[in-house]
């Protein structure tokens, strides 16, 4: 366990907090849209801007935490500067707090997804620069092969974050230029940069959890990220069809959007392939939750983002469905469905590395995952029907938008119901995470200097096994055997280690646990 990994906990925790908040805000917005006279405490305009900004920032924060957690593991070395990890967190967290606060107070730049005022956008760009600086210096000094796929994908993803954000710090006089710039964040960030980072992180996670051999997935990762680059950047064209650009964008956007199915399929193939290396039933509860969240992400990657996106990007169809609730369905399924679930999986894995989640809590986790999936699907289907009818009433038979809104109201009610179910899931999961992390909150926010210098991976592993032992009665024997092996390794390490002073505490600790497990065994016998 690296110290950089300790420092990334707070990112994961903050991502969970924002995810919980999102469920609440979005439900409020859905109700406000249906019943405009209710008198929502937050004006609809501010609420929607709030919702959109969280939807961009929370996956970003989670992914940044994931980079700090997995990159050092893949590079087999600490980050260049540990202090910068903490500094970067507080920069990003305060920037987001200021953005959300200013939106509630009515400071709105008036560009969808990019509502923050320019100084705060500059601060966001600065956060990505700090990340890249730390990442690149670490990458260059690493002893691992420079061409390792996971390292390459995380580095490329992070660098492109800056590249495509910078044009959006200012807004332009011509609305067409505004739109061109906007989709560099709304499309390229999500479907290229975060996709690259996500693939790298996911591969690192699968290598760790399922023990799949690195060589077996390396080529697949390269294939995936090459497709993601090729398709991701130029597929931005499907957002440019009707904004006042030359007509060759229809061809460009259409062709490359069709290609976007490829990385999704390769990613699915890689994941499934790596999963066959291990029996699912042997996995710990934590890994089961992580994998089921990854599975949810894969499902929406193929259906919500992949196939739905594929049909929508076909220009003659797009002409009619563009700018309706169908787009809204697609963005919910693709943005939360793919990246939301992925970030949830990774952050869950990160947060419960050292802290053990009690067994009874897992039942609630399963419930929450069920509610999230059910809610998202209901929401997606409600929006798809509403959008389909909107196309018919508005674009086919030519009713006014007001009349159309009245006619599709019942389906927006289904959406609100789905949103409500989703909010139950998001609040439950966030509550479980925060409740179980809270007793250790000081450890999460510990500064880098105070974290132990030792590589105590085995010790943490053992701590986890003992924790599981106390919960699992049936599997007690194989677990005890694993603990025995770990003990021997630790004792061996202990003899080798010259810094005995540092190890004294740990020896006492391990002896204590050994005593406990012996007694446990006796009781069992």
């Amino acid at each position: 366990m690296f110290r950089s990994q300790h420092l990334s906990y707070k990112y994961a925790l903050f991502a969970y907090f924002l995810f919980g908040l999102q469920g609440l805000v979005a439900s409020g917005g859905a109700i406000d849209l249906l019943f405009p006279d209710l008198g929502n405490p937050i004006p609809f305009v501010s609420g929607r801007a709030f919702h959109l900004n969280i939807s961009i920032y929370w996956p970003l924060i989670g992914m940044m935490g994931a980079i700090y957690f997995f990159f050092c593991q893949e590079a087999q070395q600490e980050f260049y500067s540990l202090k910068l990890i903490t500094v970067n967190f507080w920069m990003l967290a305060s920037t987001l707090a200021l953005i959300l606060g200013s939106l509630l107070l009515g400071f709105n730049e008036g560009r969808e997804y990019l509502e923050a005022i320019w100084p705060l956008k500059l601060a966001t760009a600065a956060c990505t620069v700090v990340l890249c600086f730390n990442l690149l210096t670490t990458y260059l000094s690493s002893d691992m092969p420079k061409s390792r796929a996971t390292l390459i994908s995380m580095v490329t993803g992070s660098v492109t974050l800056i590249l495509f954000y910078v044009p959006n710090i200012v807004s332009y006089a011509h609305p067409t230029v505004d739109e061109i710039a906007k989709f560099m964040v709304v499309h390229i960030w999500e479907e290229m940069s975060l996709e690259l980072i996500g693939t790298g992180v996911l591969a690192a996670l699968l290598i760790q959890v399922t023990k799949v051999e690195r060589q077996a997935v390396e080529t697949a990762i390269y294939l995936d990220i090459t497709f993601a680059i090729l398709a991701g950047i130029l597929a931005t064209g499907h957002h440019y069809y009707w904004i006042g650009v030359p007509s060759y964008w229809l061809w460009l956007g259409g062709t490359f959007s069709a290609m976007q199915l490829l990385p999704a399929i390769v990613l699915l193939y890689t994941t499934v392939k790596s999963l066959t290396f291990t029996g699912i039933s042997d996995l710990s509860n934590r890994d089961k939750i992580t994998l089921s969240l990854i599975g949810s992400s894969m499902f929406y990657h193929i259906f919500g983002a992949g196939f739905l996106g594929f049909f929508m990007a076909y220009p003659p169809l797009n002409r009619y469905v563009h700018g309706t609730y169908i787009t809204s369905a697609h963005s919910h399924l693709a943005l939360f469905g793919v990246f939301g679930f992925l970030v949830l999986a990774i952050c869950f894995h990160i947060l419960f590395t050292e802290i053990i989640l009690a067994k009874k809590m897992y039942r609630w986790c399963w419930g929450a995952i069920f509610a999230l999936n059910g809610g998202l699907l209901t929401m997606g289907i409600g929006l798809l029907i509403a959008g389909g009818l909107q196309v018919y009433f508005w674009r086919v038979i030519g009713l006014s938008i007001g009349e159309t809104n009245e006619l599709i109201r019942p389906y927006l009610l289904i959406r609100a119901f789905g949103g409500f179910l989703y909010a139950i899931g998001s609040l439950t999961l966030t509550f479980i995470v925060i409740k179980n992390i809270w007793p250790k909150i000081k450890v999460i926010f510990q500064s880098e200097g105070r974290i132990s210098v030792m590589n105590c991976d085995d010790l943490h592993h053992m701590h986890r096994l003992v924790g599981e032992l106390l919960q699992e009665e049936k599997k007690i024997e194989p677990l005890l055997k694993r603990i025995q092996v770990l003990y021997q390794r630790l004792l061996f390490l202990n003899k080798k280690n010259k810094r005995r002073g540092v190890w004294k505490k740990q020896i006492a600790y391990t002896a204590n646990i050994r005593h406990k497990t012996r007694e446990n065994k006796k009781n069992k016998l």
Binding site: L34, P36, D37, F44, V45, R48, A49, N108, E109, G110, R111, E112, S147, I152, A173, H174, P175, T176, V177, E179, I180, K182, T219, Y222, I225, T226, I229, L230, G232, I233, L234, T236, H239, Y240, Y241, W242, G244, V245, P246, S247, Y248, W249, L250, L252, R319, H322, G323, Y325, T327, G387, Q390, W394, R395, V396, I397, G398, S400, I401, E403, N405
Partner: protein
């Protein structure tokens, strides 16, 4: 350097280069200058955060309808009346459309007039049944 890494780097170079070139081509020489009144109108449009409910070129909020060709539909007088005497929102009994003062309304009308003049391949599509009526 490994072969697959070379391919990956080539893919990045190719995509970024092509993307930059087509964007340059789409902006330089293709876009008309924005009249200064329309720029003012765009600032009002952004300040009032209209994009949260309405779409421009189909991008924005899906509740209020698209404003790309709104000038063609209502004309200056209709828009001025709508913005300065806001009616109730659809489905609402109390909540009105946002109010815009006369000066701002004029600027926004200039912006809508400019928006309408942007050649965007005829989007949004005219309703299918309207088209039939025209051809008859």
């Amino acid at each position: 350097m490994q072969f697959r890494l070379k391919i990956f780097l080539a893919a990045i170079f190719f995509s970024v280069a092509l993307f930059s070139f087509v964007i340059y081509d789409s902006i330089a020489g293709n876009l008309s200058n924005v009249p200064s009144e329309a720029v003012k109108g765009k600032i009002v449009f952004q300040k009032k955060a209209c994009i949260e409910c309405h779409t421009i070129f189909g991008n924005g909020g899906y509740y209020g309808g698209d404003l790309t060709k709104v000038y063609e539909k209502f004309g200056s007088d209709g828009l001025r009346e709508y913005l300065t005497n806001p009616p109730l929102l659809s489905g609402a009994k109390k909540k009105q459309h946002i109010y815009v003062n006369h000066e701002e309304a004029e600027e926004m009308i200039d912006y809508f007039r400019f928006l309408q003049s942007i050649p965007n391949m005829g989007w949004p599509p005219r309703p299918v049944f309207d088209k039939k009526k025209d051809s008859e």
